[in-house]
Symmetry: C4
Subunit: 209 residues, 4 copies
């Protein structure tokens, strides 16, 4: 591997870690990190096998999603969603992954437009430290037209750290650092798995307790 | 490991990756890739532990499934299914794996002869890009007689990329490249896991929401 | 990595192993081990990514949880729970982890204040060897105020080896050695997974058998 | 690692592979392999962490389970079950593991004294090749007294390859080689996972299809 910037390296490490969990099934997912010395960000190139680590994994694009350097790589088809976050907030990292659990949660609670969690220690991992903290994750419709999807996504991007579910299309999280974005992602996935297992168990309550 | 062709290497990498996911339980499964400079293909040798990487993992066979070189290795007992795909299409890679989820899906939906998915971002991973794309996967009966099984399999092999479930006997996918075949496989497995979890959750809907 | 004491190394190995199982989602969890030649113990530093191995993973604190050496690291916010165990017992290792299963068990059985297991070979792994041994794990309320939580935790710390569930906040186990603490943790997690799967299956008994 | 015999190495590789799947939770499980040039076999030493690979992992014992060489290692407490298999059959490898799924299956079907599988391609992995092959796995009561448990186990050991479930105490499989034993083990675990998932799905059939 050739020499890369600190941000490139950080994103590569996050990618490797998420790949180990198999969170990029079918080459799905896309990741980005803001380059500290410029108004551009690294984003995953389109069509790559994300379980492999290569020099062509990421390319540098500007806040309109246009490649900053001459390159044969194409930025991810969903780059527009990333630009919204970098334009509206001070976030420095954006992660979008498909998991079976986040897809099922997005379908089960999609008609309500959100899913909400309370009374959970792990909510603190999203930066909410008060005892009665609640984590509300909006769920938006999966428009195939990316500019339209981006328009619907935009109103939910208000803070420097956050999470939005796209129905049957995974979760997008962001944070002020790679670690913060990953921590938020892991907390959300933990809560999704928890909720699905609790739903399943509580449905039996009458018969098993 | 001795020097191998590019195709041999590619198949070895795919095997290692699927083995890591434990998709070859009980030495099940078989994989092949078309050799670019000839009308033959590499296929997994019979009876090997697919979690190990050795020089005897694959052998080269012709379009009738007969070894091209003198070898002590026997081609997989299900080589005939691979020959059908290479004869009828331009596919260059075929993957057959047993997972618990693809077996359960094949049993649950087997009487209907197919399982169909819609409204799912990950369907794009199978090359279907329009918004209302549907992925239909045929399910055929598991005839113990391989030539008979091959006859029943044949009508479902029409495009250069595809997937067929054999009841309680895993999935066979193919594509124009190793990456395409693997992407299709992962998309199918993702959708199977999704469907099983959604079935389970929706069954409770009355009581939990 | 610089040279570390035997205890530091042992804790680092346990951390690496639990991280491999993904038992530190969202940077949750904290671990400690008693230093043999002093009345202090190593504990995980606050806010670190526990999937990474660094020289700054642990710091040495005394039995009040105050750092023994000058350091920029802050001990885990829940250090107080560890001090109680080292003060009241001869335990030498404490492990606190969040898993989806231990969280769901803590919620399902939380109102009863405990969950009990019997007739299970794996109970022996917790040091209970008689045929009718039972493993009782108390479940306490998750007070956000750590000193208050510690007060409620204290009465359940009586033996040199044990386990307590905190509702929607994971499990804390301890033992006379790192191996004993880990063995108890694994036995508990195995039993939680078992119970959840058995509950699910038995609920269907009427309809499936 | 010092130099070991071929059989020692083979058992070490099997142990490493099963450890990777986390099939030794709470230091449970025990493994053995027959030494080809003697009437003795290597068996896992008692009380070790089976996720680690050391020179003290196995010791050589005779057909009564008595160590053949001077050693500080104690053979597994359940060595007696292994001796029965080596005495009555030509098996050369015995594997005993606890998984959540094999424990739940042993409890669900324990009163019937057996669990039976049919119409499954993966049954071939146990050496049954005819189309209507059935795999019957006996389930015996978990007597805490090992000699008594061994007496109840003995009648089920008749062929050179086989599998027995002990209620809430895991599965014991054996085969003429390490590969055959492991293949049988994987086929059984696959079928257990399949059955549990199918039970769960079929219970909903009325409401979901």
């Amino acid at each position: 591997m050739k020499n890369h910037t600190k941000e490139w390296q950080e994103l590569a490490e996050i990618k490797a870690e998420l790949a180990e969990r198999d969170w990029f099934m079918g080459t799905s997912g896309n990741l980005s990190i803001r380059e500290s010395k410029s108004s551009s960000f690294y984003i995953t190139a389109s069509g790559k096998d994300k379980r492999k680590q290569t020099n062509a994994d990421f390319l540098l694009v500007d806040l309109k999603g246009i490649p900053v350097e001459k390159t044969e790589l194409r930025p991810s088809a969903e780059t527009l969603l990333h630009t919204v976050i970098y334009e509206k907030t001070n976030a420095n990292c954006v992660l979008h992954v498909h998991t079976v659990e986040n897809n099922v949660i997005s379908e089960l609670y999609g008609d309500e437009g959100e899913v909400t969690f309370r009374n959970h220690e792990i909510i603190k991992a999203t930066g909410r430290w008060n005892e009665d903290a609640e984590l509300r994750i909006p769920i938006i419709y999966n428009h195939a037209d990316i500019p339209l999807l981006t328009e619907k996504f935009k109103p939910h991007v208000e803070e420097d750290s956050g999470a939005v579910l796209i129905r049957n299309h995974g979760i997008t999280v962001w944070g002020k650092s790679g670690l913060e974005a990953k921590r938020t992602l892991e907390a959300c996935e933990f809560l999704f798995q928890y909720q699905l297992l609790l739903n399943q168990q509580q449905a039996f309550t009458g018969s098993i307790r």
